[in-house]
Symmetry: C2
Subunit: 482 residues, 2 copies
């Protein structure tokens, strides 16, 4: 593709994307396709001859666009709502062209140092001390994996060289987290060879927060049973309800017990930028490591997970390994090479989008957007509370509301579950909004998550109208469960 | 940023990128900056107020561009040379805007199914059977990690639940690879809790190929010592020399011994698309898993690693874990959810660029580019062979030439190392080309790696001239080692 062609196609994409970012509302949030539709619409083999870019884009429009889930739709209220903001998208365009591979300082001084600078900015905005060194990974799954790998490195002598198997000197190990912690903790424990049973899930209180007393007792009981505790994962903003574990108390326990404390603030971490929410993070400055995902609530296109660690030397001790073909004079002089802080050798120029997003919005702009999202969630929560046909199922500390319909008294739990599942499907089928669900104490619960930059009170209001309409419709039609 | 602004900035970036892709030669390949230059040129704190995008781009031009290593320069001959091709860059632009998070089919039917389709196309082009199911990860490090995690899952009963520690029923474990295998194998073994000692590096022959006989003997000796062999990693295209391990013989050993065979073809795999090179992969169709990186030699912007596995059920068994908030009706019906095949929950829409690249170039176009790169490397190798002041240090099966200068007879090994290190630095300091190095049998060796789409015979010829000039210059100036 020559320059003239690139310009032509590039301009066309700028137009397409400008419209898309401004008005994804033209599409249903969830696509109306069935499994296999995309596969069946495409040839089974790659073309032998090259094709015109126009032809490829025509197929993109015809086959792929109708099969997109529109994370960019302001009515996207599922999981955690995210935004590919315009400066972030432009940064990714540039990053793709630059094709930096930032394994070594030498292979991209710009990407290596901008990562340090932009993570320093974010750290400072969140009020964390400089003692936290940062590195960018792709996902929180990988950040938490590195945290627990470092905890293992710190606690099990010689684990890098000798591993865990066949060692009479290494007994059973234990990692602790709340029963509401993210599944990435489970996966990390499995991957690290600790085994899923090594993860002890601490019961939560009635507000879905890990019980510090139960944590302390579990550690004591494990020690008494000859099990070696390694680490605790505390979450600020759990996935189901965004509940906040007692970080300060957990940090005290970890210090007393000599355990690695990892704080999973993948979703909520950025709210520490807002003074009135800072107190929710009380104690996280005592953590050994923290994960915050700018691709969640900092308007940065997926993927970019920020990992902050007080003991990055332990991460390096676990993973640094310099083959001959990657030895450099700078590395020998102690200049930081990003490959030393992780399992992945190759690294994209992810910091570019974080840097551009932070500058474009400024700290003020980001705080204002976060505060507005939380306001909208509180508003929706009040609507729920004030309508007797609905009930709030969890506190709403941030921008996610957990609730369910309870259309008439006397329904069994099973009936409520089925009713709410149908209600969710009906509302989502409108295409105007998309809400996801979870289960709390066994009950099927709807979640409305706010996080897209273009979501306004009107969109949240529309979600509420649709919920009421479909609830009424279900009652009028007698389509009740029993 | 409103639509009009996005258009304006988008157009400006299209112009910038069009020029950059066409003419990165205006820049020195390696930037002329010192460690800390970028950091010092940027403020220590994020701005409180948002800034104009023009201002941000001006800083990009002023501070970051001079600190880029130009992987897009046709004189980039380091590591493995790669290309962010125009259709790949445009696809990434689109992917960033769409911001798909393809953890579930529901969260992006398009990304989920296009991944299957595009990996199917590539599989077929490389002549691999349909029994290999594909999944896209970010890097070969992560692909190989999953391969060895699956091998561990298959060989160690109950490892997912029980782990490796404190189990009298699990003794020492072993993974095998050539002494020339990539460092990602080492890192995976460490991460998985097997311990670095669990990796047994099999000696290579004089062409840097793993010795199958030595592999067979090592397995036998380990079994006799009560060690449980898990897996063998064979490489087609090692990182230092692109040597080819004997895959067929390794596959035979693995079948006989019941070991997982993982083939690392991250760099060279795509050459299996070319009929005359297919035989170099003989036996890989017997592997349990294979990694091929389109971001290396398939003109796809970084990152995109293709992992093919005959036993993806084992990967799922190791990692599938569906929390309540991610349960879907489709998932319950058996529709594939990409989160089940890996450690990372979140996944970008990476298949879009692979699909666009395969269609834009067509199989013919890709084969032609690969064949030309190999031709250029062979040509450069002949120049080396025909000049008595240089020597080839390894065979050149693909597009990487390993060589060194040997400017006069009688130099010691140490003198040759220092001379070649200085020669490399001098040639790289011209900014016209960038070559990297490795060590072979202890000797410092220069590597010329060809893989950029715009690299022509002229660029390779220029590298050759520079090497000769600087060698002569060094001799004339008496700047010899002794």
């Amino acid at each position: 593709m020559d320059s003239a062609e690139f310009r032509r196609h590039g301009y066309a994409l700028v137009e397409w994307i400008a419209d898309y970012l401004a008005d994804a509302e033209r599409y249903p949030v969830l696509p109306r396709v069935e499994p296999g539709d995309v596969r069946r619409a495409l040839p089974a083999e790659a073309p032998e001859q090259g094709e015109l870019f126009e032809t490829i884009i025509a197929d993109f429009d015809r086959v792929l666009v109708p099969a997109l889930t529109h994370w960019n739709h302001p009515g996207f209220f599922g999981y955690f709502a995210i935004t590919a903001s315009a400066p972030g998208v432009l940064a990714e365009f540039l990053a793709a062209a630059l094709n930096q591979q930032a394994m070594l300082w030498r292979t991209s001084p710009a990407a290596t140092e901008l990562e340090e600078v932009s993570l320093g900015w974010l750290r400072s905005l969140m009020g964390l001390p400089d003692a936290f060194e940062g590195v960018i990974y792709d996902t929180a799954s990988i950040s938490t994996l590195h945290a627990l790998a470092a905890a293992r490195e710190a606690a099990v002598p010689g684990v890098r060289e000798l591993g865990l198997a066949g060692r009479p000197d290494v007994g059973a190990l234990r990692v602790y987290c709340s029963e509401h912690a993210h599944s990435s903790v489970d996966k990390a424990v499995i991957l690290l060879g600790l085994g899923h049973h090594a993860l002890r899930k601490i019961p939560a209180d009635d507000q879905f927060r890990m019980q510090a007393t139960a944590l302390g007792e579990a550690i004591k009981a494990d020690r008494a049973a000859g099990i070696l505790p390694l680490a605790v994962v505390a979450t600020v903003g759990t996935t189901s309800t965004t509940s906040i574990d007692p970080v300060r108390e957990t940090a005290d326990i970890c210090r007393r017990e000599g355990l690695w404390l990892h704080v999973d603030a993948a979703y909520a971490g950025v709210t520490a930028m807002v003074p009135e929410y800072r107190s929710r993070f009380d104690g996280w400055e005592e953590a050994d490591s923290i994960v915050v995902n700018p691709h969640k609530w900092l308007f940065t296109p997926f993927d970019l997970s920020a990992f902050y660690c007080r003991r990055m030397d332990v991460v390096r001790q676990a993973f640094s390994l310099v083959p001959d073909y990657l030895a450099t004079a700078e590395g020998a002089r102690g200049v930081r090479n990003l490959m030393d802080t992780g399992i992945q050798l190759g690294r994209r120029f992810r910091s570019l989008k974080l840097w551009m997003v932070l500058r474009h919005f400024g700290a003020e702009g980001i705080r204002a957007a976060i505060v507005e999202h939380i306001r909208l969630a509180q508003l929706f929560g009040r609507w729920i509370d004030e309508d007797s046909r609905f009930e709030r199922m969890a506190p709403t500390p941030f921008s996610v509301v957990c609730f369910r319909a309870s259309p008439e008294p006397g329904l069994t739990d099973a009936e409520l579950d089925v009713f709410n599942e149908r209600l969710l499907d009906a509302v989502n089928a409108t295409g105007e909004v998309f809400l996801s669900h979870t289960r709390l104490n066994g009950a099927f619960v709807l979640r409305l998550a706010i996080g897209h930059l273009r979501t306004t009170e009107q969109h949240v209001g529309r979600a509420w109208e649709l919920l009421k309409e479909h609830l009424d419709g279900a009652r009028v039609r007698g389509a009740r469960v029993r």
